[in-house]
């Protein structure tokens, strides 16, 4: 239990970053990155595409961002270790230069996401849901629950016919 604590915290941190860059992706695009390799795409759903890699280090992102005394450090892509959570495996990749975090993306998503993805794939053809609305329309025919011949006179179909004859 004790060992799970930091891992979950790191996961929560990574997810928090993901949430941040969902809402404000522009802020994570490095403004002075023209000399640097292109950052990973800011869309976490396209993580299966090949990553633009300079250096790959298998270590948690937090341990990769070490201060350095050399000038003009190169940007690095750092792949975090695979962290098991109660929701499934989470793995993130970050682009760092020196101590600056330039970009982050998930390369393995929590169970809840992949599960819902599976469900939506499985459910095709899908169903749609909407609120019931009453329409009055220009129609030829009415489909509805079977009425008796006595009840027909009160049906919308018979009302339509009466209105047409009038």
């Amino acid at each position: 239990m004790r060992r799970a604590g930091p891992a979950l915290l790191a996961t929560a941190g990574a997810l928090g970053l993901l949430a941040t860059f969902h809402s404000t992706p522009a802020k994570l695009t490095p403004s002075a990155a023209s000399a640097a390799p292109p950052p990973p795409t800011s869309d976490p759903t396209t993580t299966t595409t090949a990553a633009p890699v300079t250096t790959r280090v298998t270590s948690p992102p937090t341990s990769a961002a070490r201060p350095t005394t050399t000038a003009a450090p190169a940007a690095h892509v750092v792949t975090g270790s695979d962290i098991g959570t109660q929701f499934g495996d989470v793995q993130v990749q970050v682009l760092v230069r020196g101590t600056r975090l330039l970009d982050v993306r998930a390369i393995r998503l929590p169970y809840s996401h992949s599960r819902s993805q599976q469900l939506s794939d499985y459910a095709a053809p899908r169903l749609r849901s909407e609120a019931l609305q009453a329409q009055s329309a220009n129609i030829d025919l009415v489909s509805g629950a079977t009425y008796t011949s006595e009840a027909y006179i009160q049906s919308l179909q018979s009302a339509l016919d009466a209105a047409r004859r009038a």
Binding site: S136, V142, S143, T148, Q157
Partner: protein, 262 residues
Amino acid sequence: MTVRVEAMWGTTIRVEVRDALDPTELDVVFDWFGEVDARFSTWRDDSEISRLAAGTLRLADASDDVRTVLARCEDAKQRSGGAFDIAYAVHPRVAPAPGRRLIDPSGFVKGWGVDRAAELLVARGIDAFAINAGGDIVTRGRPRADGGWRIGIQHPDERGCVAAVIELEDGAVATSARYERGDHILDPRTGEPAVGLMSVTVVGADLADADAAATAAMVLGDDGPSWLASLPDVEALCITNDRRVVTTDGFDRHRCHTPSLP
């Protein structure tokens, strides 16, 4: 335009033809509806269905039409996992002879009879018409140059309103629902009234199959919409008890987008 409306099969059958005809030209279909009634009615002691139930007619000696209908009812039962079953909820009028199986295919015969009536009209060169048998509809052709038949799906609460409008040329629309005659649909698997949905409308090519699917979906209740979505070649609109509309993904292609006139 020609319209002829007659009370038959315990409901009202309305035939509309785009072209102006002598109404007697529609005798062919109304005679056919009478023939279906004579052969299938559970209200007539001498119908084949009553005689099958009484044990005075063997299935092998029944007409081709009766054997075809019973075979298709069995198919519908298999497809629906028993949610559609003509051997249940039989009208007490046709209590079977001892050892005989209860059958009442009325719920299938209506759609089948209308499908066959459409073939009769097409064979006579009538190519634009709609038959509405108590809310279950078959259409062919176009009633006007700019589109197909515009069909409203009855709103469950407001008699003068519809819940959706679809446009159809060659097709069938069946609705099964609780709002008109109460909880008359029983779950053949439990014997309890089917109350999980308010209304199910199925659009397809064949009215008998569409009607059987609508009835089965009513019985399936919460599972009805996803079961309908799994069927090939039909689209459906279900109205839930809490008045939401659940449609299959392809239902929208039937929806009428032409602006309606006030």
